[in-house]
């Protein structure tokens, strides 16, 4: 391809613009989180201001501390991720590599459950949990989180299992290694990367979930996505505190995004090209 300097400069300009559009709101929120409430509402906006940690102090240790909410999010996300992986990895292996009657049907069933709109699930969960006193509980929220994380994880893992060559497990089986031992010692090590990516995605999705959390949560179990509304009321919006709270709430996913960048892109594309993935 011919290389013109002007053309290159233009390309970079466009690319820079798109970078700005995506990164700027987040950077702006980061900046806002260090401003005093007075600086936030200055017009024109002030670029040079005395940075303060007051917002973070207030959000963490003040009257409307989000520490309990971060804990809620952590418990729900962690238990969802653990249970999902425990059930999804063996199931995905069977779907990807084993022959059994009803294979197509079971694969189709998993795919169909992945297409279900969350609004269709939240209503029955609410009615049932209300009856048995399961609202505002970790188990209730974890159960409904499994409804979207399990199909997603199974399909993503299937695409990783399909990528590994058959020869090794055949050799192991001919050595009479036993199916369980073959799966554990030969197959799983080869999909370590896939397990890591799937774990990341399941955790991200659970951490970011909002609809189920806002309906089924309460005073005890109140994930951090719901707690963001602490800083918004009809009378006023506490901009700087909201920004600080959002930064803390999103710190884990932003860090995962930055460090696992390559894996995330691979997970997205594997899912997209082969048919898995929800978000």
């Amino acid at each position: 391809m011919k290389r013109h300097p002007v053309r290159h400069a233009l390309l970079w300009l466009m690319a820079g613009l798109l970078l700005a559009v995506w990164a700027f709101p987040v950077l702006w929120a980061l900046l806002t989180s260090f401003k005093s409430e007075r600086d936030v509402l200055a017009y024109p906006p002030v670029w040079r201001f005395a940075p303060t940690l007051d917002n973070y102090r207030e959000v963490l240790f003040g009257g409307s501390s989000i520490l309990p909410n971060l804990w809620s999010s952590l418990v729900v996300s962690f238990s969802t991720t653990l249970l999902t992986m425990l059930f999804a990895v063996p199931a995905a292996y069977a779907l990807a590599r084993l022959n059994y009657p009803g294979k197509r049907a079971s694969g189709f069933y998993v795919l169909a459950t992945q297409m279900l709109p969350p609004m269709g699930l939240i209503i029955p969960y609410y009615l049932v949990l209300q009856k048995i006193g399961g609202l505002d509980s970790y188990s209730g929220l974890t159960a409904i989180y499994l409804s979207f994380s399990l199909p997603f994880a199974i399909w993503l893992m299937v695409s990783y299992f399909e990528d590994i060559p058959f020869e090794m497990e055949e050799a192991a089986l001919l050595d009479r290694a036993g199916r369980m031992r073959t799966l554990w010692y030969i197959i799983l090590p080869q999909v370590r990367g896939g397990i890591a990516v799937t774990t990341i995605f399941v955790f991200l999705n659970a951490w970011n979930e909002f609809l189920f959390a806002v309906v089924l949560g309460g005073n005890k179990v109140r994930p951090v996505t719901v707690a963001m509304f602490n800083f918004i009321s009809v009378e006023q919006t506490q901009w700087a505190r909201l920004a600080a709270g959002a930064m803390l709430a999103m710190a884990p996913v932003i860090l995962i995004g930055l460090f696992a960048q390559r894996h995330i892109v691979k997970g997205l594309t594997v899912g997209a090209v082969k048919g898995g993935g929800r978000r």
Binding site: V21, V26, P90, M119, F210, T237, Q261, V265, T269
Partner: protein, 305 residues
């Protein structure tokens, strides 16, 4: 003994038992997950269908009872339902089209930059990993708030006056579409970028020797090659758009009035704000029917060519 573990059972005693052993192993691995899926998705859906035939008014419980198809009949004369259906179509079609077009154009552009794609990829990851509810709140306050938001700063300094971006019905709809597009275009962009990077260079070499113009190369070579990826992106983004909730909830709550109330939001508000859970359940059933029909149609289209 030459036995293929993967082929279906052949004749002879050995392979048959091995095949049976494989089946038993598959069932043992699969059954727990399928059972869990049955419990967490399918049985709740049956209960949803049952509840869509009930009148359940949590505000006035004494009115509750069996309603038959009453809830569904009610939709016919419910203008808010038809408006939400229309908004769902507009919201889904526009966000998906924008994501694919912008995402693909950007990917084609960025592919020509030899260095620095990594930085762009990081910027693209940011919106994807953020919780939609946080995105909605960011936009509601920092980006779209009258007078102090970023967009108003731009329009005011350009002499275009301040606008109530989320308070005006028309602008609010455009705003929630913009928010959704902002958050999910990076997904289309990243998938397209990865797909374009895998295209065989020799095809383009041949085209260049045949003096094909750039747009001819795009239409006759690139598009057919990346068609599966485009279709997949369209399917996945359509599903997301149909059940979009948190960002709209945070930015407008479905308002002003019901001007950004897509069917998903309407089902939520009916069930959990107005506590009319029976009618809400029937709305959710309609949404589910639409979602499954659309995905079935798209998978059919995917296989068609």
């Amino acid at each position: 003994m030459a036995i293929s573990m993967t082929a279906p059972a052949a004749t002879g005693a050995g392979p048959v038992t091995l095949a049976r052993q494989e089946q038993r192993f598959a069932v043992a691995l699969l059954a727990p997950a399928l059972l869990l899926l049955l419990l967490t998705t399918t049985i709740p859906l049956v209960y949803l269908a049952w509840n869509s035939l009930q009148r359940i008014d949590l505000g006035m419980p004494w009115l509750s009872g069996f309603a038959g198809l009453g809830n569904y009949a009610k939709m016919g004369s419910d203008p808010r339902f038809w408006s939400s259906l229309w908004l769902t179509a507009v919201y889904t079609a526009s966000t998906v089209a924008l994501q694919v077009v912008i995402g693909l154009s950007l990917a084609l552009l960025v592919l020509q930059i030899p260095k620095g794609q990594g930085v762009l990829r990081i910027a693209a990851i940011l919106p994807i990993v953020l919780a939609p509810v946080v995105v909605g709140l960011f936009w509601r306050t920092l980006v779209l708030a009258p007078d102090f938001g970023l967009v108003d700063l731009v329009t005011r300094s350009a002499g275009l006056a301040s606008h109530n971006w989320l308070g005006d019905p028309q602008l609010a709809l455009i705003s929630v579409i913009a928010i959704h597009t902002w958050q999910w275009t990076p997904f289309a962009f990243l998938v397209m970028l990865a797909t374009l990077a895998t295209l065989p260079p020799d095809v383009y070499e041949a085209a260049r020797l045949d003096r094909a113009r750039p747009w001819q190369r795009f239409v006759y070579i690139t598009l057919p090659l990346i068609r599966p990826a485009i279709v997949m992106v369209v399917i996945m983004r359509t599903m997301t758009a149909l059940s979009a909730f948190a960002a709209i909830f945070a930015a407008t709550g479905g308002g002003p009035g019901s001007s950004t109330e897509i069917l998903n939001l309407y089902a939520y508000r009916t069930s959990f704000s107005e506590l009319n859970v029976g009618y809400g359940a029937s709305l959710a059933m309609v949404l589910m029917g639409i979602t499954l029909a659309v995905s079935w149609l798209m998978f059919r289209l995917r296989k068609a060519r």
